[in-house]
């Protein structure tokens, strides 16, 4: 009989609409999912987590469509005839609920498969860390659909499906966890409670995964929700309908202590992803396991850059990928002797891809004599511009030619280069070689500690 239900109930078009909604979210909006290594179609974990983000709309839809299905007996006026049949009610409920669960699972897996085709072409790092994230997503849809069916049976009104869907949407929005913890509504909902919503933030990078206790807690919670929904659907006595709330409450009671208390605890570092893979030979050029597809293109320019840096006393002697994201303010921790690279850095990513300017990657790596910038991703003031000019001049000092570090010679970058860096470079290039190295070395020390005045050191030999 489940075959008939799969054909004739709301299940088949529910699956189609799930795919449609999620596909529109993932494909049609540039939204928050453009981010390099954390993009939905780059890595397995990123795909599983971004698909969980689409639950923002898909999950409310699931509870609404479940409620619509739950109204069928009432709308068709079959209740009386059905009470006179001999087969126990739960067997009949299992057919309808089973068809709905199959549809929810199929819809969710189709979206994953669409992403998987792309990920399979992009990713070199495979692991099963995505599986629990996916499973919790499927469970959340089944729980929502079954709960919707059960509630619609209790309250058989045409208003039930839209009301449930809108309520679920409101819950999903209000429980969006902000980057610093608490809900987006100025943190008014604590993290633990917010994580009872299945909607997950997409990842910023490919190095983290969802914490195991998060998956476990959410999984148990949605399991409880599904059981409650099914009992409501299958119950024949009023007492059973009352008791149906127990699995839901029990799920919450077990899940809440398990769920992480803070945003930091909600994620865990994917040790397999961040393990370093180094190119054969010396000097050391290493990338994370998850980005090893870039190693081949990186190793040659990186070693040339290290050779150039060898002229500057104290300059780094190896290139390694860092796994901490670029902070909003200030810089990430510096490791002495290492040129730190971040594939989500636009300049590095475009340098790697550049075919017209093969030197660009090398220039990028020797900028600042191998030191990282002192400014975070939202700091764009005058000091930052002066630092960029100093980095361009220092790169020119080692490569012998002043060229932009960013962009492909666009007007903005040319202008930036001409106004600050060009005069500094003109005065720097005429200095004796020994003085050039001395100034580069002094600038490197200043940049390493973020003392500032790097452009003045290069032009005047001393900081302002």
């Amino acid at each position: 009989m489940i075959r008939t239900e799969l054909r004739r109930s709301a299940a088949p078009w529910a699956a189609v609409l799930i795919v449609g909604i999620a596909a529109v979210l993932l494909f049609a909006f540039s939204g928050p999912w453009w981010k390099g290594g954390g993009a939905w179609n780059r890595e397995w974990t990123g795909l599983a987590r971004w698909e969980r983000n689409t639950l923002m709309l898909v999950w409310p839809f699931a509870i609404g469509v479940g409620a619509l299905q739950g109204l069928r007996d009432h709308r068709s006026g079959m209740a009386e005839l059905l009470t006179t049949t001999s087969r126990p009610r739960w067997r009949r409920a299992a057919q309808t609920a089973g068809a709905m669960a199959i549809a929810m699972t199929a819809g969710y897996l189709v979206i994953f498969a669409i992403g998987a085709v792309q990920v399979a072409g992009n990713a070199t790092y495979f692991h099963w860390g995505w599986a629990p994230i996916l499973l919790v997503g499927v469970l959340s849809l089944i729980g929502a659909a079954w709960l919707g069916m059960g509630i619609a049976r209790l309250a058989p009104s045409v208003l039930t499906p839209p009301l449930l869907a809108v309520t679920a949407l409101a819950v999903a929005v209000v429980t969006q966890v902000s980057p610093v913890g608490g809900s987006l509504l100025s943190g008014s909902v604590p993290d633990r409670i917010a994580w009872l919503s299945p909607v997950q933030d997409g990842p910023d990078d490919a190095f983290t995964s969802v914490a195991g206790r998060m998956n476990l807690g959410q999984g148990l919670w949605f399991l409880g929700m599904a059981v409650t929904g099914f009992v409501l659907l299958a119950a024949t006595r009023a007492a059973t309908k009352l008791l149906a709330v127990v699995p839901l409450l029990a799920g919450a009671a077990v899940a809440l202590p398990l769920l992480p208390a803070t945003v930091a605890q909600a994620q865990e570092v994917d040790q397999g992803a961040v393990a370093l893979v180094c190119a054969d030979g010396l000097p050391r050029v290493c990338v994370t396991n998850v980005h090893q597809e870039f190693l081949g293109a990186l190793v040659q320019p990186a070693r040339e850059a290290l050779a150039l840096l060898g002229k500057v006393p104290g300059a780094p002697t190896s290139v390694e990928e860092v796994t901490t994201g670029e902070p909003f303010y200030g810089r990430r921790p510096v490791v002495a002797g290492v040129v730190q690279i971040d594939f989500d850095d636009f300049d590095l990513a475009s340098g790697l891809r550049s075919t017209t300017d093969p030197d660009r990657l090398r220039r990028y790596l020797v900028a600042g004599a191998g030191t990282p910038t002192c400014y975070g991703r939202v700091e764009m003031d005058e000091n930052y511009e002066r630092e960029r000019a100093a980095r361009a001049v220092s790169a020119a000092g080692l490569t012998g030619e002043l060229r932009p570090l960013s962009g492909s010679g666009s007007a903005y970058f040319r202008n930036e280069l001409e106004t600050l860096a060009r005069p500094a470079w003109e005065s720097f290039r005429v200095l004796p070689a020994a003085e050039q190295i001395a100034r580069l070395s002094a600038m490197r020390v200043a940049a390493e500690t973020c003392r500032g005045g790097t452009l003045e050191i290069l032009t005047n030999g001393v900081a302002r």
Partner: protein, 274 residues
């Protein structure tokens, strides 16, 4: 559903086992409430195989009585035995329901199902064994004359066809007790003729209770007639006895109609001939 159609099928042990009861339906002083009102108030029944017509004016309690027989409503008093078992026990009820076919007055159905899927679904719910379902469904559809529409969606059927699909689902499990509440509503004259034929055929081995206000159907197809009014039995007898109860002075266009009005008028003289 040709009358001379020969059906050869396997019978199981339960079907050929000797019955342990004298009447398929037996009631004594049966009282059933519809809401707060006592809609059936003291009905005695002993019905075996045959077609039993249930007649009465609107609101007489026909539907309430049929709903009690279908195990939808619990009796509020008196005794009700179906297939020899007292109605009420849970496991007993499940066994009982397997052997009941029921067409409610307001027959609801899943609109997106095809006729065949719907009747298959009902057969499954009545615990017809899985291997028997396709044949049982086909037979029910053919008996009711819907074979050419079997694979159309329920929502595309006309009113009369829906009524016939309702009869098909009621007979798909070869019930021992078949309860039909206004089965002929919406059938055209030709279909009604065929339907009466089917009733006679079913009545040969099944206890069929047909509630109707179409007096003609009773005269043609029923082996006996019950007339109830205000929840109380007024008359019990054969169609010819019903005819005999009326005289030339009673309202009605046919002998049986005159009998019907005469009996009702005698039961409640103040209502006169209605």
């Amino acid at each position: 559903m040709k009358g001379d159609e020969q059906v050869i099928r396997a019978v199981n042990a339960a079907e050929v086992a000797p019955t342990t009861y004298a009447w398929e339906i037996r009631a004594e002083g049966l009282r059933v409430k519809a809401g707060r009102r006592m809609a059936v108030d003291g009905v005695d029944l002993s019905l075996g195989a045959g077609v039993h017509g249930l007649l009465g004016p609107n609101g007489a309690g026909k539907t309430t009585l049929i709903r009690a027989l279908a195990t939808v409503l619990r009796p509020a008093g008196g005794e009700l035995e179906l297939l020899g078992a007292s109605v009420g026990g849970r496991t007993e009820q499940r066994r009982l329901r397997r052997q009941i076919g029921y067409l409610p007055q307001d027959f609801g159905f899943y609109k997106r199902f095809t006729v065949r899927e719907f009747i298959e679904y009902m057969a499954w719910l009545k615990e017809v064994s899985k291997k028997d379902i396709p044949a049982a469904v086909q037979r029910a559809i053919e008996r009711i004359g819907l074979a050419d529409r079997a694979d159309d969606r329920m929502k595309t059927l006309s009113g009369g066809m829906i009524r016939r699909a309702g009869i098909a689902q009621a007979i798909v499990n070869d019930p021992r007790i078949l309860l039909l509440d206004e089965p002929a509503a919406g059938l055209d004259p030709a279909q009604r003729l065929r339907f009466r034929e089917l009733l006679r055929e079913l009545g040969s081995d099944t206890c069929v209770v047909v509630s109707t206000h179409l007096v003609e159907d009773v005269a043609m197809a029923c082996t006996d007639v019950m007339l109830i009014d205000e929840g109380k039995p007024v008359f019990r007898g054969t169609p010819s006895e019903l005819e005999a109860a009326g005289g030339a002075g009673d309202a009605g266009d046919s002998p049986i109609e005159r009998g019907y009005t005469a009996l009702l008028a005698r039961h409640q003289p103040d209502r006169g001939s209605r």
